[in-house]
Symmetry: C2
Subunit: 514 residues, 2 copies
Amino acid sequence: MSNIRHALTTKREDDFAKWYQEVISAADLAEESGVRGCMVIKPWGFGIWERVQRLMDDRIKAAGVQNAYFPLFIPLANFEREADHVEGFAKEMAVVTHHRLIADGTGGLIPDPEAKLEEPLVVRPTSETIIGDAMARWVQSWRDLPLMLNQWANVVRWEMRTRMFLRTSEFLWQEGHTAHATREEALEETHRALEMYRACAEEDLALPVIAGEKPENERFPGALETWSIEAMMQDGKALQAGTSHYLGTNFAHAAGIQYQDREGTQTLCHTTSWGVSTRMIGGVIMTHGDDDGLRVPPRIAPYQIIILPMLRDKPEDETVLAYCENLRVKLAAVSALGEPIRVLHDKTPGKASAKRWDWVRKGAPVIVEVGPRDMENGKVAVLRRDALWNLDNGKPAMDFVALDDFVAEAAATLAAIQTGLFSEAAERRDANITRGITDWEAITAHFKQGGKYPGWVEVQWSKPTGDALAKVVEQLKAMQLTIRNVPREAEPATGACIFTGAPAVERILVARAY
Amino acid sequence: MSNIRHALTTKREDDFAKWYQEVISAADLAEESGVRGCMVIKPWGFGIWERVQRLMDDRIKAAGVQNAYFPLFIPLANFEREADHVEGFAKEMAVVTHHRLIADGTGGLIPDPEAKLEEPLVVRPTSETIIGDAMARWVQSWRDLPLMLNQWANVVRWEMRTRMFLRTSEFLWQEGHTAHATREEALEETHRALEMYRACAEEDLALPVIAGEKPENERFPGALETWSIEAMMQDGKALQAGTSHYLGTNFAHAAGIQYQDREGTQTLCHTTSWGVSTRMIGGVIMTHGDDDGLRVPPRIAPYQIIILPMLRDKPEDETVLAYCENLRVKLAAVSALGEPIRVLHDKTPGKASAKRWDWVRKGAPVIVEVGPRDMENGKVAVLRRDALWNLDNGKPAMDFVALDDFVAEAAATLAAIQTGLFSEAAERRDANITRGITDWEAITAHFKQGGKYPGWVEVQWSKPTGDALAKVVEQLKAMQLTIRNVPREAEPATGACIFTGAPAVERILVARAY
């Protein structure tokens, strides 16, 4: 394959971090904004996010959760009242202190000292406390429960070291917040949301994930249980791609979310919260990207098929364009993966070959080129992004197909690409989870000698808490390792704890992580 | 009609402002958040906004505009460089000065003095300057033009006096930003966006509007032309429901948005911006609301038909529920106004009559009630929100219809409601625009003697500028009047300016406004 000239300068195996940045740039996904820690999400990147939003929102609504919108600004008092929460979040937040600018007299602007807020406002890092206030107003009786809300919003957590999509000061997400009559119902909702995330990640984003409970030290501030889905990136690191929290009555107590039960007794609600963010796009890049750029799974591709007319500034261009437009109309009438095919007839100026490579880097699932000769033969030239190269000759694996055959096969092709991307990632993930390690030295050896991509290890532990857990966390941290989660579908424990030697109670995934 | 017992306490004619607040509360649209100037948009209100978003977004995408996302925070320097813009916007904005909170030692939190930002950041009041920065990076050649972007976002303009949906410190909107090679193309885009707003307002929200150019004093800061759509509320006041701006090369010059033309010359772009916001929901309330609450036009109703089973905690409830579910499935399979009917089978606890009035106040277009007797007769009881009362007996105008007939007629019914709401509002608007007033005394008399709802007057003027215009604005302001716009479709001027006596050049709308 050495004769293949890949579309990117940096290869994954040479410098994964640099490759990641190059994909983001080459696929036109996002860029630095000039505002510290904030990125600009460019149309192709935002189009992918819109698709994720649409598909997730359908799942959210199907579960009976209602969208609403709550203030961007949160009073300090909200953070002060929930001790664990403030401890977890009070550190790095954007604080609004003034509501006016005035001229400084030298051509510049400064916050007007006369317009200082009596109480500073925090730009929401998450909305448990402000939505809790609303829930306290809206919940009176058992009849009002469950109350299931969601908002799509921007949130801000001031970050010192940022990386596009993975860790930015401002990011976009959805946050679900629900209140229930009982612990059982709230736990059920916690798991429903987790399962929804698993399904969306695997079915829509083609990201194989492992769903499980986070250890105590990784819980959301104020939560009793935090569950996550974890995806394996191509460098073997883990990416937490979504979390679902059971908050017990902690937030209900702080905000006064209570209901009169059927017997007339005032009772605290049990609440949950759950979120996924634009971080998922980072997961898509690091799972499906290759040395030619991004590969977007068809379900979340803004356009699934790109039609490129090969024009020569000659009169016959018109007939090529008409042929392409006919193809576009035919494809748009086809349903693939449950929706009409999203097809773009790209008539922008530029050479077809340059435009082809733009779309390869962007990761459009299928690219179709049409030149005068193809047209005369009633054919189209088809390039599948998931099978880009002819390995025999190192050239793009262009397939010349009769137009009607291509249209007839289009839905099956897109479905195959969706399935294929998932399978490829799932096989890589499964091949890189090591089980059966039973002592700490073997872990050390694994992560030292495992090459660049040691993947994850699943080990048994005794679920220590408090100081004992802190010691384990330190021990792992020295190796740049973290506990990802306790996989929901793991085998029961049968041996000894790898850290303490005590009888193990469950299995955990240990990995390097983003 | 005096025997009708309306669902609201306050009638429009008694106290329009109080009525407005009561509709917002009774229809479960929004509420005060406890955070100064910020509201909570409740699920029914947000559902309406989601519908507006979806329909507008389809129009935006159909025009070839691409969605993207830009930072919430804008550096001060961006505001400093465009003089007119800073003059217009620098007054009331939320300013972030710190990026961390710390404990104050007495259980509270304060901004950490160690974490003061070197340069304060402004929470975006609008994004011309930050999107301009991106455009300057993205536009190099004539091939990159036009560049047409849009973002759906929250923005903040600190407001001293707020009113829900109409004027809140934080609000939701879309802002389109485009860059073009020539003045002509930018003006064309300005008008395309305006026409898109007119179409969306009239066809989707059933809001009749008058599109026209704003006078100089009402221009967006930094714009050369500002166009608006103006809707008439039931109290005769005007509501500016959307604006489209031609920015000339002002922002392009400030941000450095330029392109190399076909001859190789660096040339400044001509830019536009255009936006509509959650303010439109206020317009829907004040146009379509009545003394029983809101009436939501079917195209933007989250649910168009509500099915209410009348249950009695008896075994036959099950068959009623099954009958209702059958109805729901049948309706959901019907297409109305170009989309599948949005139907809710409302099985929440509570008496059907109480739930009926909840949905009346919320303004669901059609409410269907089903009791055991209706079921036995194969019927449903239908209540149209746009024809709520039987004026003969002062009771709800419930219509008993065979289930299959109701399903067969559902699409036509919804289309008729959509059309009817628009016609009713258009007739009221047309009846309340007074033309032919030719002197200032007559205007004074009109607005003094015209009763509570003097509506708008269309008069001719000489389009004064500068100080002469300022004088006119002052003169109008003394009567609480403003110039709304120069209607796009107005007749040519034929007489004298009502303010200066000079020959008139165009006609303007004068009105009280929100």
